[in-house]
């Protein structure tokens, strides 16, 4: 597979992974949100390219949903939340950036080897999409685990979901209904988390999730 179509798909999917790494590296809240919006843009480009190649018009809808919700609405909303909560400082991490990056590289290597082994008979588009998608999902998880701040955990969760969409788009044939319902559930999850954020903040004067842990320890 050396065709241009494949190369572009590969580039976009790889780009998504790269942007995931950029998110891990960011240490300022607003910069993180910008990168997250960019993540969604790359995702929608990637999905749109898959739509064009597979001749599947409903994937265009997915791409559009990703672009509108994830690249515009959610980052803007998160930005407002961050402003209102006044947490636009540095992102607090549990372990150093370097260690997280190393772990991330290990995870991508793992998912690449695993996916290439498991999907030996699928076609190349699906294989590389799946390999990258799993890496993006794992990196999203990694981000959720290594961040103290609830907002950046939300971003991690959203990027994880982006990875799932990439996988779905590559795997040919997720029906539109499922798409839309997934998109809405994410939106709802976002709203719920947003409400929670405010509640946490009211209660603990901080969105640092360790505050909740401490609270639990005290009341055990």
């Amino acid at each position: 597979m050396g065709t241009l179509a494949f190369d572009i798909a590969h580039l976009l999917a790889g780009g998504l992974l790269l942007v995931s790494f950029m998110m891990i590296y960011q240490d300022r809240m607003f910069a993180l949100l910008h990168v997250f919006a960019f993540h969604a843009v790359v995702l929608s480009l990637s999905v749109a390219w898959q739509a064009y190649n597979q001749g599947a018009p409903h994937l265009y809808v997915t791409a559009a949903i990703a672009l509108v919700f994830k690249a515009a609405i959610i980052p803007i909303a998160l930005r407002r939340i961050v402003k209102q909560l006044g947490v636009h400082r540095e992102v607090e991490t549990v372990v150093g950036v370097g260690v997280t990056m190393l772990a991330g590289i290990g995870l991508s290597a793992l998912s690449i080897v695993l996916m290439l082994r498991v999907t030996a008979h699928a076609d190349a588009f699906a294989r590389e999409d799946l390999a990258f998608a799993l890496s993006v999902v794992l990196l999203g998880l990694l981000m959720m685990v290594t961040r103290r701040n609830a907002v950046s955990q939300v971003v991690g969760f959203m990027s994880l979901e982006n990875g799932l969409i990439l996988a779905a788009a590559g795997a040919k044939g997720m029906p539109l209904v499922v798409e839309i319902s997934v998109a809405f559930s994410v939106l709802i999850a976002f709203i719920v988390i947003g409400v929670f954020l405010f509640r946490i903040r009211e209660r603990f004067d901080s969105v640092d999730v360790t505050a909740i842990d401490d609270y639990r320890e005290v009341h055990r």
Partner: protein, 320 residues
């Protein structure tokens, strides 16, 4: 192609890089000045500076050893040889087989090694701070560079820069995500190695965060001129390297008996690439702030990680 012509073209390249290097620095400075609404020095200023420095007496610290006096020439020679081996406007140059990309990286390493030693030679605190920080940055940047070389060599099947550039210019290479990562990594390494913002500020003096300038603080006169010239050469080398790897089009192939016109076009294209590189660098430097010195390892570490990731991803695209 006759041997004379081959040697002639090689010689032309060697002269070209030395002649153009100060101009590149000058372009970067000019664009930076204009971006910050300043007039800026005329474009020939670096040449004037070099000539004036050359004519001045050398004021040598009392306990400077012979090493201190030899190093400027050594550093210049190593950088020049490295720059001469980069395909700037033509591949397959006469001496391009002398050393491959790994050796070019190592040659720059030699230059840095001696410069760092010279920083220690007089026994001042500024020299020490410069040398120790330079070596810290280098020990992150060099492995990153090596991994970039690995990526390239795995794509092109050769560490020989000429061959690799010919391969990259051919239509066999599609869009590779690894190449993109290698590009970002190489840009970071280039910024770090050339002591540019955000790693180091080439225009600061008397500030504790400076690295390269602190190391060469004791140099004066012709010695300083050689060192300024070599750092200009090094900047040119990295921009040419990025140019010939990622924008390899228009480079003449001297193995294939390129015509005279092809060489002329190639040289013009090369100069355009250089100026674009200079302008981009200036815009980038103007729009970003310098980092704390202990943030630098993280920044250069990114290059290391990206280059490693690029190498890993290469296996994905190769095994498909």
């Amino acid at each position: 192609m006759g041997l004379t012509l081959a040697v002639l073209i090689q010689g032309l390249q060697m002269l070209l890089v030395v002649a153009v290097a100060p101009m590149l620095v000058s372009v970067v400075r000019k664009v930076k000045s204009r971006l910050t609404r300043k007039q800026g020095a005329p474009l020939v200023q670096p040449y004037r500076d070099l000539i004036r420095l050359m004519r001045k007496d050398v004021v040598l610290a009392e306990n400077a050893s012979w090493l201190f006096r030899v190093v400027p020439y050594l550093v210049f020679a190593a950088t020049w040889v490295a720059a001469a081996l980069i395909p700037t406007f033509a591949t397959g140059l006469q001496f391009s087989w002398t050393a491959d990309l790994i050796a070019i990286v190592a040659l720059l390493g030699s230059a840095r090694f001696f410069l760092a030693l010279a920083g220690m030679d007089v026994g001042t605190s500024f020299g020490g701070i410069g040398s120790s920080r330079e070596m810290m940055i280098a020990s992150m940047a060099e492995p990153a560079m090596m991994l970039i070389v690995f990526s390239l060599a795995l794509i092109a099947g050769s560490t020989q820069l000429s061959t690799a550039v010919q391969f990259l210019a051919s239509p066999h290479v599609g869009l590779r995500v690894s190449l993109g990562m290698a590009l970002v990594a190489l840009v970071i390494v280039a910024l770090a190695e050339n002591a540019r913002i955000p790693v180091d500020n080439p225009t600061t003096h008397l500030e504790l965060t400076m690295v390269h300038e602190a190391m060469v603080l004791e140099y004066s006169g012709r010695h300083l001129a050689m060192i300024e010239l070599s750092s200009a050469l090094k900047l040119l080398l990295y921009i040419s390297l990025i140019g010939c790897i990622f924008v390899p089009w228009g480079i003449a192939d001297s193995d294939a008996n390129a015509s005279f016109a092809a060489y002329v076009v190639a040289v013009l294209l090369y100069l355009i690439k250089l100026s674009v590189g200079g302008v981009v660098l200036a815009v980038f430097e103007t729009s970003i702030a310098k980092m704390r010195v202990f943030r630098v390892p993280n920044f250069v570490g990114i290059a290391l990680m990206l280059a490693l990731l690029g190498t890993l991803l290469l296996f994905v695209s190769m095994s498909l």
